[in-house]
Symmetry: C2
Subunit: 332 residues, 2 copies
């Protein structure tokens, strides 16, 4: 049997921690036999669980980083927090990857500060799989770098391409630049410069994408700066939420439509499932040594399970090494 | 009776011009008795229509700016185009406002170059009414300025506030900055600086908004740079489009859901109408002398009608003068 894949998990991270985290970890362990989990958290949380689960090991920690804390300050001061210790386990080679549904900012800070950047990577970027009903789309940066230089986007595209191919399973993924027009000369000075560099340095550059192309899945990989990407991601989530909420209201507005609603309930549920972020369970911070998957704060057990499994797949696929090779080759 | 409101209309602008433009103008004339239209376009288009409509006057032009032309170059070279002549009529005081569903870029260029900026306005901005199912939301800049300085956003907020109050009819509209977190220190260096300036200089500043707040209508007015705004607007439109397309597909996937779909057809139509951009019919370029409303290239007759009427309302409300006063006061 192959060597086990060891994923450290933040038992204390997330709005519904630790219960949904433990439930999600149990699910993940049942789905992948070569998975081992190091559960980081308070003794009374992790010890009883690990006593009952063969491939779960307890790493007792004494601090917890709250959602509202200043990310970098919290990571620096709370050295025995579940989040920081989880990253340190990866740094020390005791785990291959780390999953947390805790503060995204603290995860990004700990990933960069504790796990460390891959040599040659200017800035790690947060990628996510947009759950389009058409097919999955990898988008980055969705929030790690609010301020970017155009050249960062070349690396973001390279790293997201590796993730799209090796973890999401796309064949020859093409990467597009998010912009405000199709032509190369469109957009801000930043976008024009990024377009030029991406066209020069990427083999799989597909040109400019626009906002309407994201959920329509016109491109495999969509690259942008962390400010625009974060605004866009939240706009997509918010638009879906508002539309479904309104749809429910109009469906409840008359007897006929209520009856209709009953008949389409199954179809609606299947659509909701298609566009649920829980399916992918987490956003990878690409460009750090090892694998770091950041879950939604509101993750349920399924999302935690899928986040842990995606983290394990990222390890198994050797994403970190492949990114290292791609970046080294490109920098030569 | 009060003086007529005179709106110049680009008969040649839009994917479905001139037919839907003429139809839309006829509708608008029938809905507002003090409205007069100067129809700019080829003789064979505008003359027969104006012969049949009492309050429509023909302004024969000989050139047309196509959708794909370079905006500023086209505006400079095609001085007898329907789009440039329409703007010139406003500049010369022969019309109070101008509506076009032609090239947005050319409209922005002609608005700024031909109609001219209001004194004290650094950059005119393109605003739009986001057709949220909750209530309308005014958003700007949605594409006039891909590159902005933080101080521009203070004026964008002032101008959009006037429009929200006087044309959309909001009471004491509050303006928020689109950002990637609630706290003032969140976001890019640009967003942090814009937040600081807006907090200092605006009486109606509501703090940071996030992408999810737009369609949810958490704020009355949402302000951002023209790059982020344009990406966001297209993301909202694209997300709605993809979701409704997928919903239709899942509804057609079984007999039961097909029957359900029949029952909810009316409800769905009413929701689609609520979120249709045709209801507002155009995006105002705020900060130019006079009123300029830019319609979607795909405008239908209803959208053209509403665009022309909104342009007339913008004139009647004296938006240009109120913006001038607000900007002068703020610059003192």
């Amino acid at each position: 049997m192959a060597d086990p894949v060891i994923v450290a998990v933040d038992a204390m991270g997330g709005d519904n921690a630790p219960d949904v985290v433990l439930e999600g970890v149990a699910l993940a362990l049942s789905q992948r036999e070569d998975l081992e989990v190091i559960l980081c958290g308070n003794a009374e949380v992790v010890e009883p669980f690990c006593a009952q689960h063969e491939r779960a090991h307890a790493q007792v920690t004494t601090e917890v980083i709250a959602m509202a804390e200043h990310p970098a300050a919290a990571v620096r001061s709370k050295k025995d927090s579940s989040l920081v210790v989880g990253c340190r386990l990866v740094k020390e080679g005791k785990a291959h990857g780390f999953f947390s549904a805790g503060s995204t900012g603290a995860c990004l800070a700990a990933g960069t500060l504790v796990m460390g950047r891959i040599k040659g990577v200017s800035r790690p970027c947060l990628a996510t799989v947009i759950p389009s009903p058409v097919r999955p789309v990898v988008m980055c940066d969705v929030g790690a770098n609010a301020d970017c230089k155009p050249e960062y986007l070349v690396q973001f595209a390279q790293m997201a391409t590796v993730y799209a191919e090796k973890v999401v399973g796309m064949e020859n993924p093409q990467a597009a630049l998010l912009n405000i027009g199709e032509e190369p000369e469109k957009g801000s000075v930043f976008a024009q410069e990024a377009h030029k560099l991406m066209a020069e340095r990427l083999d799989n550059f597909a040109g400019n994408a626009e906002g309407g192309d994201i959920l329509a899945a016109t491109y495999d990989v969509i690259v942008t700066d962390g400010f625009t990407g974060n605004v866009c991601l939240k706009t997509i989530e918010g638009t879906s939420k508002t539309l479904f909420k309104t749809l429910k209201q109009v469906l409840m507005s008359s007897l006929v439509s209520k009856l209709g609603a009953l008949a389409i309930k199954g179809s609606l549920k299947s659509l909701m499932k298609q566009i649920s972020p829980d399916t992918y369970g987490g956003a990878p911070l690409l460009g750090v040594k090892g694998a770091l998957l950041v879950g939604h704060g509101s993750s349920n057990a399924l999302a935690v399970c899928n986040g842990v499994l995606t983290c394990a797949s990222t390890v198994s696929a050797g994403v970190s090494d492949i990114i290292s090779q791609a970046v080294t080759k490109s920098n030569e």
